[in-house]
């Protein structure tokens, strides 16, 4: 007989909804880390991350039967629920949006990124600057960066979680990385524009 630890998420969910506490515990331990980190990377607040994780698994207890295996994995389903709770927090409490793309952040970037964070990304300060840059992205770009880059979900899984097409994920990620380049470069947006112009002119000779 198969041990419960070897069961797939969907089976654990089925058992959990039938009232099996052990299945719930296993599923929670298997997925809580990713959900917590996703909420933390999206919000920048450990308190929000904890609340969102709590809400996601409470939702799973009450309304877990809405999960449809034909539409994706349990993991994607949970990320989708978490994303909705995070966005709800953003809309309900603007104070939880930790970093706006304002002058203060630009100053912070300039101070910490001299001579430039991309020169030495292994340093802790630089990791912190990347974290802040990710947090400063608009929501729709931030969520694809968090899911694809930080949670290492595939394009397909990310599309399932966000409820959009794979092409949308791909294009948003491309745009998000461009924005991150701009934020992490010492000269900001200008560098991106210059880079685009350079590519534009070089294309003629390639």
């Amino acid at each position: 007989m198969k041990a419960k630890t070897d069961l797939p998420d969907s089976e654990l969910l089925r058992l959990m909804l039938a009232g099996d506490e052990e299945s719930f515990t296993l599923l929670y331990r298997r997925r809580q880390g990713g959900i917590y980190r996703f909420a933390l990377q999206m919000s920048g607040s450990p308190q929000v991350a904890e609340d969102v994780t709590h809400d996601v698994f409470l939702f799973l207890m009450k309304d877990g039967n809405v999960f449809d295996a034909a539409r994706g994995s349990v993991s994607s389903f949970l990320f989708g629920v978490a994303r909705n709770y995070v966005l709800r927090r953003f809309r309900g409490d603007h104070a939880t949006v930790p970093f706006a793309d304002d002058e203060e952040d630009q100053d912070f970037d300039r101070e910490t990124n001299v001579p430039g964070p991309l020169d030495d990304l292994t340093r802790a300060e630089t990791i912190e600057s990347v974290r802040r840059a990710v947090l400063s992205l608009p929501e729709k770009y931030r969520e694809v960066v968090v899911l694809c880059e930080l949670q290492e979900l595939s394009y397909g899984e990310t599309a399932e979680a966000l409820g959009c097409a794979i092409g949308t994920v791909r294009s948003r990620l491309h745009r998000a990385r461009s924005l991150l380049h701009a934020k992490l470069s010492p000269s900001g947006e200008q560098t991106e524009l210059e880079s685009s112009t350079a590519v534009e002119s070089a294309r003629c000779f390639a």
Binding site: R14, L17, A18, G19, E21, F24, T25, Y28, R29, Q32, G33, I35, Y36, R37, L40, Q41, A49, E50, T53, H54, F57, L58, M61, K62, D63, G64, N65, P117, L118, L121, T122, A124, T126, I127, V130, R131, V134, V145, E149, L150, Q151, E152, L173, H174, R177, L180, H181, L184, S195, A198, V199, A202, R203, A206
Partner: protein
């Protein structure tokens, strides 16, 4: 490969995403020739390393252990558990729709069946009781031994009650009751008016029972109820059925005439 094409796949290349081997080799070959594209690729690779470092640094973060205890506690509360429905998908909805249709059919047929039942306010008359008679000899009551309980359908009640100057007591006094031993057998050969109220009509008075008595009245009595009188036969009698309550009072009357043979 040109720079525009390289630009579109630079991040995929830096992230080591799966792509066709030919495209990868062409892109690397192009970056070897193009300084800008090479710089672009290096930037993408550094960004990827930075994001990977961030992901690695946060990889150990987990929800507080107290959260698990709270959720398990919530899980143990019975109202939280919602059993997964046995049937899912379209089959469930089809069955639900079929059940709804059956329920509607059952409701309609039950409603119709109730409407087809006889009216509940059917007046049941008790076996005949002696009739009080104020003047003259006591009238002979019409016995119906084979059918002691004589039901009067609601159709026999006066549907239209025109205002008339009715004098029930006078009618009762003048009534000359003649025996008719086979009143039921005459129904087929008789035509009758509807029961018309005599005096104050109170259907509640008939709930305790009553009695129909065949009488003969002067033909001029028809005029008292607004019915036409054939003056050529004004001195003749006319038959009538009087509905008596348990109090012995006349409550309604209908006039009876034998059918004429064609």
């Amino acid at each position: 490969m040109n720079c525009q094409r390289f630009e579109s796949i630079a991040s995929e290349l830096a992230r080591n995403q799966i792509m066709e081997a030919d495209v990868r080799s062409e892109a690397l070959a192009h970056s070897a020739k193009c300084v800008n594209c090479l710089a672009r690729l290096r930037n993408e690779e550094m960004l990827t390393r930075g994001l990977n470092a961030l992901a690695t640094g946060m990889n150990s973060l987990e929800a507080p252990p107290a959260l698990e205890a709270r959720l398990v506690s919530a899980f143990r509360q019975p109202q939280v558990i919602v059993p997964m429905p046995v049937m899912r998908g379209r089959r469930f909805y089809w069955l639900a729709a079929a059940a709804a249709v059956l329920f509607i059919i059952f409701s309609v047929s039950t409603f119709r069946w109730h409407r087809e039942q006889p009216a509940p306010h059917e007046a049941r008359l008790t076996p005949p009781t002696p009739v009080k008679n104020v003047d003259g000899p006591a009238p002979q009551q019409i016995q119906t031994p084979k059918q002691p309980v004589f039901a009067v359908k609601s159709d026999d009640k006066p549907k239209h009650q025109p205002r008339r100057n009715v004098r029930g007591s006078a009618l009762q006094a003048k009534a000359v009751i003649t025996p008719n031993k086979d009143i039921n057998s005459n129904h087929a050969s008789e035509v009758a008016t509807e029961f018309m109220p005599v005096g104050y009509w109170n259907a509640a008075a008939l709930q305790d029972g009553g009695q129909i008595v065949r009488v003969e009245l002067p033909r001029t009595t028809l005029a008292s109820f607004g019915l036409p009188v054939n003056m050529d036969r004004y001195n003749e009698k006319v038959k009538a059925d009087v509905l008596l309550g348990v109090d012995g009072m006349a409550h309604a009357i209908r006039f009876v005439q034998e059918k004429r043979l064609q």
